[in-house]
Amino acid sequence: MNAAAWISLLSAVVVAATPLLLAATGELVCERAGLLNLGVEGMMAVGAVSGFITAYHTGSAYLGLLAGIGAGAACGILFAWLTVQWVADQVATGLALTIFGHGLSGFLGHSYAGDTITALAPLAIPGLASIPWLGAIFFDHSLPVYLALFFVFAIYWFLYRSRAGLTLRSVGEDPAVAHSLGLPVNPTRHAAAAFGGAMAGFAGAFLSTAYTPMWAEGMVAGQGWIAIGLVVFATWRPLRLLGGAWLFAGVGVGQLFSQAAGLSINTYLLSALPYLAVLLALVLISRDPLRIRLNTPASLGKPFRAET
């Protein structure tokens, strides 16, 4: 492979990692507040369809992104409302949200199948984009690609350097203690779930308005689940999301490139590769039970209701 091919490969990896990063950053915040939202896949589907329909009718892919973010946030609020306010089981609620989101996106998108929109235009960053190699790989993409990278660092700062982040982590570790200290447990969890939903919706809308600007049912194709796996892989630390997202996206993109290069491995078998990669990564990272136990937010998945 020559330099140009490598650059286009790596630049494709950075783009393909974007939906994973966006969704995983949101899920990470949600889980750090103690809420395990398995509905990422469904929220992405809802974000994708609302983003596409909005962009289709307004002609603006940016409005589409906003619509996706809003729709995702609505799903996240629904999740918080059920699990925090109504103390519903988090696993069941997340799965319900996934099925609901899938169904809703199929239902709403039914009459748009095969329709296309004008994709989100790339915004080359002046100056940086002309750096040899790195410019083309990192700085010649559409807005969400930069935002995904920005959010990873912003959330790192938020969780470890801000007071609100400290509150959020305390709520996730021990809501009962946080509550007795007078910290706003339920509002924090609501906000975290809304943020998680908004990011998943953003990821979905990125898929439908920038990555493949044509409506096809099921375009999320398991990326929401990979994002949840990514959070475990990163052991709930934002900066480690980057490596994981590039790794998983790299496997997916590499698979496409090897097909284009006419590699004689069966296409269908190759398409299992990203999922196997996630599985393998999970096994490797979870092998040490102590590492998982020390890093998992202690109240993750457990219901909490202040009995006052």
């Binding site: 398995l38 469904g42 629904l78 059920l82 109504w86 103390v87 519903a88 089981d89 696993v91 069941a92 609620t93 799965l95 319900a96 949200l97 996934t98 099925i99 609901f100 989101g101 899938h102 169904g103 809703l104 996106s105 199929g106 239902f107 709403l108 998108g109 039914h110 049912e217 398991g222 689940w225 949840i228 796996g229 475990v232 069966n266 269908y268 078998l269 398409s271 299992a272 999922y275 196997l276 996630v278 599985l279 999970l282 096994v283 979870s286 092998r287 040490d288 039970p289 998982i292 209701r305 009995e307």
Partner: protein, 352 residues
């Protein structure tokens, strides 16, 4: 006046039964609103979805056929979920069962004899168990999260199914269409209701919830499952968590595998690319809709089966998306989760 939740001293058994009914009503109402919002006549939609399939005997037969795999998968998941083993991979285990059960027919299509069908069904169940053994092993040996491993294996199974039906197992006589050879009579389930697709498999499937009920109620394994609701109690009683993970995954995987081969050797008649639609996830809905009670699995499976037949019907007569069935399931489960709050809490009105 504002409503507040007050914890009940004991969870309400009555509410546990009423909540799914409330949820079904709420879900129906929401569906009507959705239909109206999307510019369809809501009553027409309601008729096409819920009443038309029940208006004819053949409609009833279709509902039974659709519910059968859901009853099997749902019954297995009830055990897994009660043991707090989150097997989200029934889809993959279902595919594994369909594939493993098909091996004999693919390589010996001319096979005959009374032993063939039982062996095929057994292979299917074993296939599902083997595929469920992978996440069990990864969980016990490597501490891997069961939710994620079972889910990733769903996608792997689907890729494998595509490979087989488009590749080595494709019937050359299919003129390029994917799909295996058709199952011969000796390897097909006998029909019980002529003129419909209701076969022996449907009957078998509806026995599964009863068996699981007996297992949970009367066996030591069932006792251990029921106790695992409380982690502390299980540990105190000295029950092995590893064994519980193994047993509940093997049981739910085996039942999902059986559901897979019953579909292939029954209504579908060959191993196809699209044998699965989304039955694995629908099985999750069934298990929760049954309130994780095996006896509730039967009505729950019938209701979700009705959704499938109804949404297929609405697709033909009203041009609605087939995704409506899935949407309905999602709304139903969300409504149920909201209604379930009344099992543990009661609503009190308090002066603001």
């Amino acid at each position: 006046m504002s409503p507040v939740l007050e914890r009940r001293p004991q969870s309400s058994t009555v509410m546990r039964v009423i909540a799914p009914v409330i949820a079904a009503l709420a879900a129906t109402l929401i569906t009507l609103v959705l239909l109206a919002l999307s510019g369809k006549a809501p009553m027409e939609g309601f008729y096409a979805l819920f009443l038309a399939p029940l208006a004819t005997p053949s409609g009833w037969a279709q509902v039974l056929v659709k519910s059968a795999p859901l009853a099997l998968i749902g019954a297995g998941l009830v055990v897994a979920f009660r043991a707090r083993v989150w097997n989200i991979g029934a889809q993959g285990q279902y595919i594994a069962g369909a594939v493993a059960g098909s091996v004999l027919v693919i390589y010996r299509p001319e096979i005959t004899g009374g032993w063939v069908l039982p062996v095929i069904l057994l292979l299917g169940a074993v296939g599902g168990m083997v595929y469920a053994a992978v996440p069990a092993w990864l969980a016990i040996r490597f501490n891997a999260n069961v939710i994620l491993s079972t889910l990733m294996l769903d996608y792997v199974a689907l890729a494998g199914l595509h490979y087989l039906t488009f590749g080595p197992w494709r019937n050359p006589a299919n003129f390029g269409f994917p799909g295996s050879v058709s199952f011969p009579a000796s390897a097909s389930l006998p029909l019980l209701w002529p003129g419909t697709q209701v076969d022996l498999g449907v009957l078998l499937a509806f026995f599964a919830p009863l068996l699981v009920w007996g297992l949970l109620r009367f066996s030591l394994f069932g006792y251990q499952v029921r106790v695992s609701l409380s982690e502390a109690a299980s540990v105190y009683a000295g029950f092995s968590r590893a064994r519980m993970v193994w047993q509940s995954l093997l049981l739910s995987g085996g039942l999902a595998g059986l559901a897979g081969i019953l579909q292939v050797a029954g209504p579908i008649g060959q191993l196809q690319t699209d044998i699965s639609s989304d039955l694995g996830f629908a099985g999750i809905i069934v298990a929760y809709l049954a309130q994780l009670n095996p006896l509730g699995v039967m009505p729950a499976a019938l209701l979700v089966g009705l959704f499938y037949v109804g949404s297929a019907n609405a697709q033909i007569t009203l041009g609605l998306s087939a995704a409506l069935g899935e949407l309905l399931q999602g709304i139903l489960l969300l409504a149920l989760l909201a209604a379930n709050v009344l099992v543990h809490y009661r609503l009190r009105w308090r002066q603001a």
